[in-house]
Amino acid sequence: MDRPTIRRGGFGALLSIAYRNIWRNGRRTGFCVAAVAIAVFFNIFMQAWIEGMIGGIEEVVRTYDMGHVNAVTEAFDAEREYLPVQFPLAGGRDWASLAAEVRALPGVRAALPRISAWATLFDSSVKHAMLWGIDLEAERKVNLFNLTRRDDGLVEGRWPRAGTNECAIGTALSLKGGYAAGDKLPLKTVSAQFSDKYWNPTIVGIFDFDYRRFDEGAVIVPFDRLGRLLALDGATQSVVMYAEDPARVDGIKEGLSGLLGAGHVVRGWQENYWVSMLRKSTFLYLVVFGVFQVVASFLIINTILMVIHERIKEIGMMGALGMTRAEIVLVFFLEAISLSVLGAAIGCAVGAAATFVGSLFPVDLELFSGGGMKDLPMSGTIFVKFTPGIIAGGFAFGVAVSAACTLVPSLKSAFIRPVEALRR
């Protein structure tokens, strides 16, 4: 005897029912979609903003502070804030001979010597500045100092020539002290032998790195001239290395440590305090975004609960007509998912457009901070990061969180008995 077969609707049929249902109350659907869309947009934009900010900080660290790998002596590292010049690298070995060995390490794209020292300016309006002794020719081949315009940052005059009594200063220092190209910049610094050194270099260039700490407080001078002034006898205070692959610096670190020997600190750029701190705090941002998404999902949860309540007789009818509990739950769940997908799609589209525009036009942080962010290794502008990964991630995150939140209210429909539902 043939058993009667009940033709059940497939997934497509249930999806179709769910999709039709969401338009039964257009205004309510509109609110749900808008809530999810705003949350997804916020998450995408904020993630792009944070990624852009972290990327900017990493770039500042790599450009001005550490390169990809940085080596200093342990004694210097212990007193880093004072920028002591009494502790040259490799026991005071001449950089010219050390450079050849350092550059020969596998995976090294460039190795640059740097000396930083505090100076007291004779001018009372700007009392202190940092002398930054670099090999300008070599540095400019590797680094773009202005991270906003992506150029060397020179806005007036020229860069100091090697071996000369010349310097370049930032726009902020120039304004504060009333200096112009051609002026002298009398200063005092302390040498490696703890001697007062007086110097009167001529300002030949004004730069704008869009990095407040340098624009306001750095005096760029030729590496060899500063080394001579500080009695470093050709030695360097630190070396910054640039790798062929910035993500793989362990080999260079090991090679450099072996070359320099004991008493040195060799670090990769990922070990920088700000970089590692921000990377670690990424998890916190995800938690914040998650909370935001959950709050937005409350509107969907509320809608589904209301819908179940409103359609209680309908649910009874569906059950009486033979739909299983799982199918009924799936209809409501798909309804909730449809709202989430629709909202997330709109949020993604708006978020993608906003981040794309933000990636083209950098945000000027000076407007918000008034120039008060010079203690952070941060450029004055932020490029919001536009990547398909962030947008796809934002969409998936939005749908997943909303779906998870709507699962429980959807299950409520499963516990309604058809006979009781029809009686109401």
Partner: protein
């Protein structure tokens, strides 16, 4: 009883001007001990800072409190010269080969990496002229009886608003002094290492200075071939000599 109290109060009242007089007299002695019409000497400055030791040598001449000349002779600083004249401090450095005026905030900087600042070296007036002394009693300093003088600055612009001096009761040499900021924080410590009887006075020829704001730092100044009150030509303090 009332008579006793009254007598004590009277004695105390009478003692105040006497003690004040003593303090002023002691400070005047200190000034005369360390004063000179001119001086010529060779010096060594040994700086110990954060476990490192730097020795600097120099030659110096001075006339009164207003004119002085210092030229460093150790290899690292050879040729660096300072001239104090007309209340101004000039420096000539081989790195710049030009005369530069040290003024303003620069005067508060450490001189040649030592525990002394430039402004510590350019005081033109005696302690008696700059401070009001008060005798705070006597103490034992390294087995020697010493008067303790508290000096309060007469002018608000003084670098150190308060000083405390320990003056040898016998020789009236300053054995020790402390320099204080307006906040009451102790900034610098001085200890006499050795004084010599030169021209009938005990003249400090070796002393130690500590800048308490610099962790693990001290500077020992030692003078040799000291000649006091010798005639010195005007050319010894000329700008031309500085520029040569």
């Amino acid at each position: 009883m009332k008579r006793t109290i009254a007598a004590c109060a009277l004695a105390a009242l009478l003692a105040i001007p006497a003690l004040a007089q003593d303090a002023a007299a002691i400070l005047a002695h200190v000034d005369s001990n360390e004063g000179y019409s001119s001086i010529s000497y060779k010096g060594t400055m040994t700086i110990e800072y954060r476990g490192k030791r730097f020795v600097k040598t120099f030659e110096s001449v001075a006339r009164g409190r207003n004119e002085s000349w210092v030229e460093f002779t150790n290899p690292e600083d050879r040729g660096t010269r300072y001239l104090k004249r007309d209340g101004r401090l000039y420096v000539w450095s081989p790195d710049t080969e030009e005369v530069m005026l040290i003024s303003g905030h620069l005067l508060k900087e450490s001189m040649m990496g030592s525990d002394l600042s430039y402004e510590d070296t350019i005081d033109s007036e005696t302690l008696s002229a700059r401070y009001v002394p008060a005798l705070k009693g006597t103490e034992d300093v390294d087995g020697r009886k010493a008067y303790v003088l508290e000096l309060i600055a007469r002018k608000k612009t003084e670098s150190y608003p308060k000083q405390v001096l320990w003056v040898d009761a016998e020789t009236l040499s300053v054995l020790r002094f402390e320099l204080y900021a307006l906040s009451g924080a102790r900034l610098k410590d001085y200890r006499l290492v050795r004084s010599e009887l030169i021209g009938g006075r005990f003249f400090p020829v070796e002393f130690e200075m500590r800048d308490l704001l610099r962790k693990g730092s001290r500077t020992v100044f030692a003078m040799r071939e000291v000649q006091l009150d010798v005639p010195l030509p005007d050319s010894a303090f000329s700008m031309r000599r500085l520029e040569q």
